[in-house]
C-alpha cells in the first residue's frame, strides 16, 4: 500500500516535470525556426554605443530583408560577462560589441564566429594595427573593428597658466609639475592614479613598450611584469607614495567633482575623453586642451590604446552571413560612419571614418585642430596582443593595486601579483605556456 502511494506521488511529480520542461523547450524551437523560415532575417545586437537604435533604424529601412534589433547594454566588464554567460547558455545575441581586450576571451570560449569569408572586402578599410586586434595574429577574423582609443593627455589649459606650468613633454616633467602644483595649492592635484582601471594602466604600459601577451608557436608567452610595465608601475607608485598624485579612482562621483571644480589638472586618457568630460565635468567646457602623452625619453613619440571595440558575430548565430554584412556596413559604410560619429560619439577605427572627423567636439571648441591632433597621436599608438584570460589579469590589477594604493606600498609588487595570478590561472586551465 505504501509503495503504491509513493509510486503515485512519484508519477505525479514526473508528469508535471515533463510538462514543465516540455513548455520551456518550445520557445527555443520556434526561435530557431524563425530565422530559417521565409520572413526577413531577424538579428539582435548587444551594444552600449549611445543612440545605436537610430543608426540601426537607417539600416532597417534600407534592408527590409535583414532587420536588426538593438539591445542596449551597460558596457564594460559586465557586458562581456553577460555575453559569455549567454553564449554558454546557448542563447547569445547574433551581434555583440566586443572590446578588443575581451575578444581573445570570446574566441577562447568559442563564443564568436570566424567571419573571414564575409569580411574579405572590409580588411582594406583598416590599418594593420587595428586589424591585428580582430585577427589575434591568426588566419581568422573574429570581428569588424569599430572604434579605437589612442591615448593622449587632457589638461586644464587655464589652470596650467594660473599655476605657471608648461605642458609636460616627458614623464619626468609630469612628476615635476605634480610637485609644483602641490606646492602652490594643497587642495589641487595634477592627476590621480586609478586602481580601478586596468585598461588605462595597460595603455600606459603599451606606450612604454610592454607586451603582456604574445603567441610563440603553439604557446602563450605571458609577460605582464615585463620591464616597461614595471617602469610604469614604479613611476606612479613613487608619485602616490610621495603624495604628489591623488589616488581616487576614475569615473566616481568624487572624481567628477574634482574635475568639475578644477582640483584635477590632467587626465591621461583616450580619444573618447571629450564625451566623458562633457558629461562628467560640464563646468570645464572650453578650458581643457589636448596634447600627446608625456614620453619616457625626450624626443620619443609613442602612445598606447585605452579601450576601443569591435562588432563580433556570435558563433551560435543562425544568420552569420547577414550579421557579418551588417557589421561590415556599420563600420565601413560612409553613411553609417557619419552616423556613428554624430549620434554615437564614436571615434571610428576605419581610415575613411577618421577622415570624416573635422569639426572639434563642442567641449573642445577652443581647440579647433582637436581631430588633427588626435589623428597625429593615433598614428603613434602601439598596442599588444591580449591574452585569453584578460579578465583574470584585470581583476588581479584591481585587487592588487587597491591594496598597494591603500598601503602606499611597492607598485611593482602589484604587477608581480598580476603576472603570477595570470600564469597560475592559465596553467590551471591547461593553456600551453612558453617559458
Amino acid at each position: 500500500m505504501r509503495v503504491y502511494r509513493l509510486a503515485t506521488a512519484a508519477i505525479l511529480v514526473a508528469t508535471l516535470c515533463a510538462a514543465c520542461s516540455g513548455g520551456s523547450g518550445e520557445p527555443s524551437a520556434t526561435a530557431g525556426g524563425g530565422a530559417a523560415s521565409g520572413g526577413p532575417v531577424k538579428l539582435t545586437y548587444w551594444t552600449w554605443v549611445p543612440n545605436m537604435d537610430k543608426i540601426v533604424s537607417v539600416w532597417n529601412q534600407a534592408h527590409p530583408d535583414i532587420q536588426v534589433t538593438v539591445s542596449k547594454q551597460a558596457g564594460g566588464d559586465d557586458a562581456a560577462a553577460k555575453f559569455l554567460t549567454a553564449a554558454r547558455a546557448g542563447n547569445p545575441p547574433d551581434l555583440v560589441q566586443a572590446e578588443y581586450q575581451m575578444l581573445p576571451s570570446f574566441v577562447a570560449a568559442d563564443a564568436v564566429a570566424d567571419i573571414k569569408a564575409e569580411t574579405a572586402q572590409a580588411k582594406g578599410e583598416f590599418g594593420e594595427g587595428v586589424w591585428g586586434l580582430v585577427t589575434l595574429g591568426t588566419d581568422a577574423v573574429y570581428a569588424v573593428p569599430q572604434d579605437s582609443g589612442p591615448m593622449m593627455l587632457y589638461y586644464r589649459r587655464d589652470l596650467f597658466d594660473k599655476y605657471g606650468i608648461e605642458v609636460p613633454k616627458t614623464w619626468d616633467e609630469y612628476a615635476e609639475a605634480a610637485r609644483v602644483v602641490r606646492g602652490k595649492d594643497p587642495k589641487v592635484f595634477l592627476g590621480t592614479f586609478s586602481s580601478k582601471d586596468p585598461g588605462w594602466f595597460a595603455g600606459l604600459s603599451q606606450q612604454a613598450g610592454a607586451q603582456w601577451w604574445s603567441i610563440d608557436g603553439d604557446a602563450w608567452k605571458v609577460a605582464v611584469d615585463d620591464e616597461p610595465t614595471r617602469k610604469v608601475a614604479s613611476y606612479w607608485g613613487g608619485l602616490v607614495k610621495e603624495g604628489v598624485i591623488d589616488d581616487m579612482p576614475y569615473f566616481t562621483p568624487e572624481w567628477n567633482k574634482a574635475l568639475n571644480d578644477g582640483r584635477l589638472l590632467t587626465w591621461p586618457s583616450a580619444v573618447w575623453g571629450p564625451g566623458v568630460l562633457s558629461s562628467n565635468a560640464p563646468k570645464g567646457k572650453g578650458k581643457w586642451a589636448v596634447a600627446p602623452l608625456p614620453q619616457w625619453n625626450a624626443g620619443e613619440n609613442h602612445s598606447g590604446f585605452w579601450g576601443g571595440s569591435s562588432t563580433a558575430v556570435a558563433a551560435k548565430s543562425p544568420s552569420r552571413a547577414a550579421a557579418a554584412t551588417f557589421a561590415t556596413w556599420l563600420n565601413t559604410d560612409p553613411q553609417a560612419l557619419g552616423l556613428l560619429i554624430e549620434e554615437g560619439a564614436v571615434y571610428p577605427a576605419s581610415a575613411k571614418g577618421a577622415a570624416l572627423m573635422t569639426e572639434a567636439p563642442g567641449y573642445f571648441s577652443n581647440q579647433p585642430d582637436f581631430w588633427k591632433q588626435a589623428a597625429a597621436i593615433g598614428a603613434t599608438a602601439r598596442g599588444f596582443t591580449f591574452g585569453p584570460d584578460v579578465n583574470v589579469t584585470y581583476n588581479a590589477y584591481r585587487d592588487a593595486f587597491d591594496k598597494a594604493v591603500a598601503a602606499r606600498s611597492d607598485f611593482t609588487a602589484a604587477v608581480r601579483t598580476m603576472q603570477d595570478t595570470t600564469v597560475t590561472d592559465m596553467r590551471k586551465t591547461g593553456f600551453t605556456l612558453a617559458q
Binding site: 508535471l16 568559442d110 591568426t138
Partner: protein, 298 residues
C-alpha cells in the same frame, strides 16, 4: 483533539495528502533540488584547454573530482572573507537588533505621541532598495562630496563600520516591526497585573515584554544571520568608489567574481556549495542552541 470525520474511509484518504503535497514537491524539485543538484554537478567538473585555447574544440569540460572543493576550501581569501563578514555581522546584528528592540519597546510603551508617524519613519528605509540605499550612503561617505566633511568614511579601518551603518539603517525598521507586532499581540491584562504589583514601564519592559519577545528575537536573529552571511549588495555597490573593498571582500562576492568576472563557473559552484554548507550549519546550529528558549514554552 479533533477526530477525522465520521464515515470517511481512511484507506482512500491515504493517497490524497500526496496530491496536496504534489505542487509543493514539484516546486521544490524544480526550483530547489534541481538547481542545487546542477550546482553540485558543475562543481565536480572543470574546463580543460589545450594549446593556445583558440579555435573550435580547444576547450572541453572534464570531470575534476573534488579538486574544485579542495581549491575552494584551501583558498585563504575565502576564509579572510568569512572573517571580514564575521566582524561586519557582529556589528550589524548587535546594533540593528538592539535598536529594533529599543524602538519596539518605546513605541509599545503606554504614552507615546506620534507613534504612527515614528513607526512609519523608522520602517521607511527598509522600503528603499539595497542598491539605492548603498549608493545614497556612498555619496554621503565620499570625501569631496560628503556633507559630513572631509572624513575617510571608506578608509581601510572604517569601511566595515560604514557598510554596517547602511545595513543597520536599512534593516532596523523591518525587525522593529516584527518585534512590535509581537508586542501588540500580548494581552494588556499582563501589564495591568504588573502595574498593580507596582512595576513601572521599565520594569514591565524588562521583566515581561522582553521574555515574551524571546522567540521573535530569535527569529529575527536567524533571519539577520542568514542575510549577513549573504552580504553582497553593499560591498559590491561601494567597491567602485573606494580602493578598500576587494573583489573577494565577502564569500558571495568571491562566487560572483569566479562565475562572472574570471569566468570559472566550476570554482564558483564549488565555493557556493561550501558557503551553503556553512550557512546551513550556522543557522541550524544557532537554532539548536537556543531552541529551548524559542520553542520550549509551546
Amino acid at each position: 483533539m479533533r477526530r477525522p470525520g465520521k464515515g470517511a474511509p481512511t484507506r482512500r484518504a491515504g493517497a490524497v495528502p500526496y496530491l496536496f503535497l504534489a505542487p509543493a514537491m514539484v516546486l521544490f524539485t524544480l526550483f530547489m533540488a534541481l538547481p542545487i543538484g546542477y550546482t553540485g554537478y558543475l562543481s565536480l567538473r572543470r574546463t580543460k584547454v589545450s594549446g593556445l585555447g583558440l579555435g573550435r574544440g580547444a576547450r572541453t569540460e572534464v570531470f575534476a573530482g573534488l579538486g574544485k572543493y579542495a581549491a575552494a576550501v584551501g583558498d585563504g581569501e575565502l576564509w579572510a572573507g568569512w572573517l571580514r563578514v564575521l566582524g561586519y555581522g557582529a556589528l550589524v546584528l548587535a546594533l540593528m537588533l538592539g535598536l529594533a528592540l529599543v524602538f519596539a519597546l518605546m513605541l509599545d510603551a503606554a504614552h507615546v505621541r506620534l507613534a504612527r508617524l515614528t513607526r512609519i519613519s523608522i520602517y521607511l528605509p527598509y522600503a528603499v532598495p539595497g542598491v539605492a540605499a548603498t549608493l545614497m550612503w556612498g555619496f554621503l561617505y565620499l570625501p569631496g562630496l560628503s556633507p559630513f566633511g572631509d572624513h575617510a568614511f571608506l578608509g581601510a579601518g572604517v569601511v566595515t563600520f560604514s557598510m554596517a551603518n547602511v545595513a543597520v539603517w536599512g534593516g532596523t525598521g523591518f525587525n522593529m516591526l516584527v518585534l512590535y507586532t509581537n508586542l501588540r499581540a500580548v494581552p494588556r491584562e499582563y501589564y495591568e497585573a504588573a502595574r498593580i504589583d507596582g512595576a513601572g514601564e521599565l520594569g514591565i519592559a524588562l521583566r515581561i515584554k522582553i521574555p515574551i519577545l524571546v522567540p521573535a528575537i530569535i527569529l529575527t536573529t536567524v533571519f539577520s544571520v542568514v542575510a549577513t552571511i549573504q552580504v553582497f549588495t553593499e560591498p559590491t555597490t561601494l567597491r567602485p568608489l573606494t580602493n578598500t573593498i576587494s573583489s573577494t571582500w565577502s564569500p558571495l562576492m568571491k562566487v560572483y567574481r569566479d562565475a562572472f568576472v574570471t569566468g570559472d563557473l566550476h570554482s564558483a559552484a564549488a565555493t557556493s556549495m561550501v558557503i551553503a554548507g556553512i550557512s546551513v550549519v550556522v543557522s541550524f546550529g544557532f537554532l539548536r542552541i537556543v531552541k529551548n528558549h524559542a520553542f520550549g514554552e509551546g
